[in-house]
Symmetry: C2
Subunit: 190 residues, 2 copies
């Protein structure tokens, strides 16, 4: 039975997460199809990577929509913002887990179309973090762009922790939220 | 005047931090030398990357030695551990800033020699984090390997923040220490 474009993309992602440098020949082999079949769907590795990047961005945008970060930003309400933050981080964990290799794939990060899209999505989050700071949910003494970059860095840590088997998947949301919000220092008893 | 091996390596690192996919031809051009000259020093891109990786590991090890993490681990003393932690993080920022591309270069990360070395250095840090947890410096409810992976992720965030110009270099140690130890949530007044 012929593999759909979607199925080929899903297999490619899985394989790239294990080996980010996989060639088209290796990706075809992993999908159990011939190179000719793969090339009929994606004329080059760049085209495949662009399609994977677009899909990752769609899912990223869906996370933003589902967690309501734009409305929360406009609301300025600490409770609404807090809930959107938790929901967004949980959703980003799933996207980072699914598209792990893309977090640090340099060719993808500098592709002009993907870069523009990712900048747009990121600006929404930066505005959201700034609103969270204004509402007193996040501390005000860190630049909002730094906060955004640390979320990205922690998602890389999530990907590595799962890839190496350092933590159980079920523990990740708690670990990320705790570390991100409260840090690694022992908390003073209040 | 001929460029020394050291000088070639320094120029290559600078260029790779801007363009992690730079070819040998591009690296030769950036150093202002011919490809033939570059190839006399490094017979292949792999050999150059291996040399850069070894140098990064030497500097990483020096950070561990200067900050005294091994002695601090053995001491079990919260004050000694706290000082070693601050010193180690400050040193790691410098290494991450200098060797930024290497943090996520997949070919370097899977090279067997570099992998073995990096595992050794990382195990020292994991033992140190575990000692910091036992001494009450770091919270005990996070796996030590997760703590180690989040430091790595935050160093990726440092690299990205500096590369994009999101934060001033002088602010980085404070931002990293604050975020890592205390998190991004607004702290309750105590």
């Amino acid at each position: 039975m012929a593999m759909s474009r979607e199925q080929i993309m899903s297999t490619a992602i899985q394989h790239l997460n294990e080996n980010p440098l996989a060639s088209m020949a290796q990706l075809a082999e992993a999908a159990g199809i011939s190179r000719a079949t793969l090339h009929r769907q994606f004329s080059s590795r760049e085209e495949l990577m662009l399609a994977l990047g677009r899909r990752a961005h769609e899912q990223w945008e869906q996370v933003q929509e589902r967690s309501g970060v734009v409305d929360a930003t406009a609301s300025g309400d600490p409770e609404v913002i807090g809930k959107a933050l938790d929901a967004m981080l949980a959703g980003l964990i799933e996207v980072a887990d699914a598209y792990g290799f893309g977090l640090t794939d340099y060719a993808m990060l500098v592709n002009p179309e993907l870069k523009r899209r990712s900048d747009e999505l990121e600006e929404r989050e930066i505005a959201f973090y700034a609103a969270a700071q204004q509402a007193g949910v996040l501390r005000a003494d860190l630049p909002a762009r730094w906060i955004s970059n640390t979320v990205y860095g922690l998602l890389v840590a999530v990907r590595e922790s799962l890839r190496r088997g350092d933590v159980a998947r079920r523990d990740v949301p708690r670990l990320l939220l705790t570390t991100y919000l409260h840090g690694a220092a022992r908390r003073e008893e209040s």
